[in-house]
């Protein structure tokens, strides 16, 4: 194997692919990247057995071949070489030689045949969506995923293609986020529903960060694959049944509050400081034209603030985890937020009135 490539075209793809590689793992080969050179292409693969990322780029190839090398060291060397450096890579017996200018280094290798490949059955269904839309779906939903919950299927995100929409749902049992995008493809005959693990979601977000144009999602029996052209990310699916989220969304709310998002968010940020550090409870009182936020903590400290809002209805008191409210207000993009409640014991529905295809649910908290 022998190829040469410019540092600037190699570095970013290399960093993306090695981002998947876990810092600590039990199998030495999992800390390596698979390099494969054929035709005029270099392909690099990183995996942690749950998520696999492949990048293809042009290189000037002298000799085809494949090998695996330690990801972290390969990245560190390429990063520390000067801008625009020309990098020559040659496999010499079981060492990979990297040369650039007056720098020369030999990396240890492991055989390409030992590299674990994710086995993918043929995709059953493919969907095309603009990268920016896909990213926004994930960004607006991911915060509600559980972390290390025993209900393992909550530690991920539901991605569903149904009736011509692509829908993302996440919940940790206390709050829920749901966003969808109209695909405009007329819909498929069979609904596709998959749960992708937390790590897969985070890697998808990272990849979509610097991506434009369309991306293609392929639903397989045990995998979901996202292709962007230059990159291909495959994630295993979580085997489990996602809760029936439609049942969680309250539809009986009759009290509607419209508030300025920034004002409400800032007031919540201030009052949150003197809430109980563990439970983070906040008391929210709705009254005609006003919402009053109050908190207190075991040190007998308290904070209170009133925010003018648009509300006509009977007074109502409801408790929340202030962190959950802030998480939602942090992702909503519009200037106004709409909160719909039924009573102090029912979940609240939060929406952005300027956006139709997003909704958030927060369960109340006993204070």
């Amino acid at each position: 194997m022998k190829f040469s490539i410019n540092r600037e075209s190699l570095l970013r793809p290399l960093q993306q692919v090695s981002g998947v590689v876990e810092r600590r793992q039990t199998l030495p080969i999992l800390s390596n990247l698979l390099l494969r050179v054929s035709g005029s292409k270099l392909s690099m693969t990183g995996t942690d057995l749950e998520v696999e990322m492949v990048s293809q780029l042009n290189a000037s190839v002298d000799l085809e071949g494949d090998i695996t090398v330690p990801a972290r060291k390969f990245v560190d060397i390429c990063r520390e070489l000067p801008d625009q450096a020309e990098i020559d890579v040659t496999l010499k017996e079981d060492r990979l030689e990297i040369r650039s200018g007056r720098f020369r280094s030999n990396l240890s290798t492991l055989p390409a045949a030992d590299f674990p490949a994710v086995e993918v059955a043929d995709a059953e269904r493919q969907v095309t969506i603009p990268a920016s839309e896909m990213k926004s779906l994930l960004d607006l939903t991911a915060f509600a995923m559980a972390q290390q919950d025993v209900r393992y299927f909550l530690n991920g995100m539901l991605i569903e293609e149904t009736g011509g929409t692509l829908k993302c749902v996440a919940t940790d049992g206390h709050r829920l986020a749901m966003n969808y995008h109209e695909l405009g493809n007329g819909g498929s005959e069979v609904d596709q529903q998959v749960i992708i693990p937390r790590k897969g979601v985070l890697e998808l977000q990272r990849l979509l960060n610097d991506c434009d144009g369309d991306v293609e999602l392929a639903f397989g029996g045990s995998h979901l694959r996202l292709s962007t052209g230059a990159f291909e990310l495959t994630t295993k699916l979580v085997d489990g049944r996602f809760p029936d989220y439609e049942r969680v969304i309250p539809r009986n709310g009759d009290k509607h509050v419209l508030a300025n998002k920034q004002d409400l968010r800032r007031a919540l940020n201030r009052t949150a400081i003197l809430s109980n550090e563990k439970f983070r409870g906040i008391r929210v009182n709705f009254s005609e034209g006003l919402v009053t936020l109050s908190t207190n903590n075991p040190e007998q400290e308290d904070a209170e603030e009133t925010v003018p809002v648009d509300y006509q209805g009977s007074p109502l008191e409801i408790g929340f985890n202030v962190g959950y409210l802030l998480d939602v207000l942090n992702v909503i993009r519009g200037d106004t937020v709409k909160i719909t409640v039924f009573d102090g014991n029912s979940s609240a529905l939060i929406e952005d009135p300027s956006v139709e295809n997003a909704l958030y649910v927060i369960m109340p908290m006993k204070l």
């Binding site: 720098f103 280094s105 990396l107 009052t271 400081i273 003197l274 308290d302 209170e304 603030e305």
Partner: protein, 373 residues
């Protein structure tokens, strides 16, 4: 106690004071900030019992009104967080009653539990300074900034976990070492009059806090020290640090005089080449081999996985060939602390330390001990 002021009056002095508080502490009072309100003076004080910082709210703008004087200790981080989240032009009113401090600002109101001001610890064994000197804040900041990296961390030779402030014969030098590498930086301009004499050792935390505090400060700093503490006073701020009780070793013996092999090269290029080759260095020993030949310097690293890296650089060198080993990070850190374009290195032999100097800055000297290769 009752007073009101603008958010902008309070935010910076408060943030500085909260910066010295430990995140986790055993005594509740150490998470508090002492708030003292006098007729024409509002001061804030925070401590972690090793260092103490007092800041003063600037009265000049005339936006501060004091209705009643008083003192109390309030939870520092919470007060700062609330101030941060209030609008930029907010007006803050404070009043203390029954050990509870009320803060109101517009539609926002909060109450803090407080602790009595008498319980607030001032630094143990604090004595008024006996020795005083005045230095330029920017110069002092640079001296500390260039040498702080060389201090030890949690070394049993506890005096290495700090920095020596050496004051003698119109000279002021700071010295830091961990036993294997050394940094000595002298004050840019020698003092014109005899100001102070002594060898106080300022602990690591004190040095790092002082570096933070001097960042962006212009004008003069008054330094004063006693047997147990050092005080740095600048406009609106008074910083106190305990001293390390111990004798700093005679560091001058560690500085090689007249190394006969002298190398000069571009500092940035050498540092970048070291950072690259460091990737393949042994993770435990971090060793690098330097091979000197006429006008050429070779760097070489390898590790137990039989991986290796090498790079050669053009340098100015006339002399016999030499192979010598170092901890690569000690070289990288010393080069990183310097500011000039070029670096000059002096060697005497395979077992003698390397003297690193900046041809453009005679004040700073670095020494790195060799390793067996």
């Amino acid at each position: 106690m009752e007073f009101s002021l603008k958010r902008s009056d309070l935010l910076e002095p408060l943030a500085k004071v909260v910066g010295v508080l430990e995140k986790r502490q055993t005594l509740p009072i150490l998470s508090h900030v002492l708030l003292s309100v006098e007729a024409e003076r509002v001061t804030l004080c925070g401590t972690d019992q090793e260092v103490e910082l007092q800041t003063q709210v600037d009265f000049e703008a005339g936006t501060i009104q004091v209705q009643a004087v008083g003192r109390c200790a309030v939870p520092g981080r919470k007060l700062l967080e609330i101030c941060r989240h209030l609008p930029a032009d907010a007006e803050l009113s404070f009043s203390l009653s029954d050990a509870r401090l009320t803060l109101t600002s517009g539609a926002f109101e909060s109450q803090f539990s407080t602790l009595p001001a008498e319980e607030f610890p001032s630094l143990d064994g604090y004595q008024p300074p006996q020795q005083m000197l005045t230095v330029n804040a920017v110069d002092l900041g640079q001296m500390l900034g260039k040498s702080a990296f060389a201090m030890a961390q949690q070394d049993v030779r506890y005096f290495f976990n700090g920095m020596l402030f050496e004051l003698e014969d119109l000279q002021f030098k700071v010295v830091a070492t961990n036993g294997q590498r050394l940094a000595v930086v002298a004050l840019k301009e020698a003092m014109t009059e005899h100001q102070a004499v002594g060898r106080p050792i300022v602990p690591r935390k004190g040095v790092l806090e002082l570096v933070k505090l001097l960042d962006g400060v212009e004008g003069e700093v008054d330094l004063g020290f006693s047997d147990t503490s050092i005080v740095a006073q600048m406009t609106g701020k008074r910083f106190v640090s305990k001293l390390i009780d111990g004798e700093y070793p005679d560091y001058t013996k560690a500085i090689p005089d007249q190394p006969d092999k002298r190398v000069t090269c571009d500092r940035g290029l050498l540092r970048d080449a070291l950072i690259r080759t460091a990737v393949m260095s042994n993770e435990v020993y971090k060793n690098v081999k330097l091979s000197l030949q006429e006008d050429k310097l070779m760097l070489f690293t390898n590790n137990p996985l039989q991986e290796q890296a090498e790079e050669s650089l053009s340098v100015e060198y006339q002399g016999e060939a030499l192979d010598i080993g170092f901890n690569i990070h000690f070289l990288i850190e010393a080069l990183g602390a310097m500011s000039g374009k070029n670096v000059s290195m002096g060697f005497s032999g395979q077992t003698s330390p390397c003297l690193i100097t900046d041809p453009d800055d005679a004040q700073a000297t670095f020494v790195v001990s060799p390793m067996v290769i």
